[in-house]
Symmetry: none
Subunit: 238 residues, 2 copies
DNA sequence: TAAAATTTTATCGATTTTATAAAAATCATC
DNA sequence: GATGATTTTTATAAAATCGATAAAATTTTA
């Protein structure tokens, strides 16, 4: 993941700090210091940025206006808004600018990086599935089950399951994407709950249990325990 | 996760409070009250701390200088800077010396603990290749067998073995990485069980026996006893 | 060949890990 | 805000593994 990021930020210290963290990740950073510069730079390199972060309070032209103009140039580029207060975040959402995420200041560099990775992963996945399943309702098919992300529905041996909770669905989908691969509880926490979540390993167990309950009413055992390591999805046996 | 943490903090009330919270987590806390003490303590116990938290504003020697000196002694030790909310220029300087995260004061104990856990997990994961996404299904192939670390699976003469315990798998993988090389029991204890483990040689024998049982049901003898020395992996004969 | 040393095998309690259920906390919706 | 659904935590039971020991088998050596 070698990202090219445009950061619109008037506070040099913030930009500089993020530059150092991005460098560690191997990412390129371009900084624009006010709204007018932001639009100019984006226009000149349209299509080149993988992601834009945008401060709401900017000199010369405010963040909302900049967001709108960027959206006109590139309707799909991932956009993260940086806002000073929660009330502003609500504003951003209310305005329907089409920001993909927002982060309130002050934020930790790690947190912003986590958000960028998560957002980028979402975008990549949407891209993949769009290519992979243009003719099918389902995003993923294995021996015994079919999964539709848009409908949040799982079909196991022809029987539909629509009552999975969000966590249950995400857990199943994450593991089913790589059948037979063993996922540690820590890895599942990172992939399903997100980098910024800090919970107990046992939480995963609890969700696995409920997921198994719902799935195994209607089909074979598809989630196996790998003792001392974690869990895996495999519906090719039994 | 039993961490040993060095907290460099001149405010006793902060240190004391964190001490209580860390205790709940089962973590060890060492406190240094000024910059000079910090470097002294770190130097004396170099390599022993899993993580250092460092206040930027310290008596005697400032946090930036302390960070630099700690970095020279241990380039990789996770380092979290604690900074006053409005001194962002300090943040930048602090981060220039390779801090891994920073937390702005005042912070809640829970938040700092969360950051510590996240950072520690990140460091652990960087070490841990077992959970990484593989390029191929198998990490290692020899005459009779293929080994997949991510699946914790061994295929011997085309037949899959998925019921190896963690120790059994690690033992096989360790030896199979260098076929024909003889490993003493001590060496295997070190490589598989770890440096800190002080156990009996016979333990290795017991695990070798169980491993052979599982493997030799489905294929040829792949682990040979080297009398008076130890064991080796070799599946080129038989 | 007999004795000594080493390896293999079998067994078992202690420890670690996982499953399950239920309580507590959080979140979302009206 | 109250209510119900979801998520998380906690407690305990159940299962599997680990590590030590000792006995049996094998190999070495005297």
């Amino acid at each position: 993941m070698a990202l090219n990021i445009l950061m619109v930020e008037d506070d040099d210290s913030v930009a500089e700090m993020m530059g150092m963290f991005f460098k560690k990740e191997g990412w390129q950073l371009q900084v624009a210091r006010d709204g007018v510069e932001a639009v100019d730079v984006f226009k000149k390199h349209v299509g080149e940025y993988d992601l834009v972060t945008l401060d709401l309070n900017l000199p010369k032209k405010d963040g909302i206006q900049v967001a709108k103009e960027i959206r006109e140039l590139s309707p799909k580029v991932p956009l993260i808004m940086l806002t000073a207060r929660d009330s502003e975040s609500d504003q951003v959402l209310g305005l329907g600018i089409g920001a993909d995420d927002y982060v309130t200041k002050p934020f930790s560099p790690i947190a912003l990086i986590a958000r960028i990775k998560a957002l980028h992963r979402r975008v990549e996945m949407a891209h993949d599935t769009a290519q992979a399943t243009p003719h099918s309702d389902y995003d993923l098919t294995t021996s015994h089950l079919k999964i539709s992300k848009s409908r949040r529905e799982v079909v196991i041996d022809g029987q539909s399951i629509t009552n999975l909770t969000p966590k249950e669905f995400d857990l199943l989908y994450t593991m089913a994407q790589k059948p037979k691969q063993v996922f540690s509880r820590e890895k599942l926490l990172e992939l399903v709950w997100g980098y910024e979540y800090y919970g107990e390993d046992r939480t995963v167990d609890a969700h696995i249990k409920k997921l198994r309950q719902k799935l195994e009413q209607k089909g074979p055992q598809v989630i196996q325990t790998v003792w001392g390591i974690g869990y895996k999805f495999d519906d090719t046996q039994g």
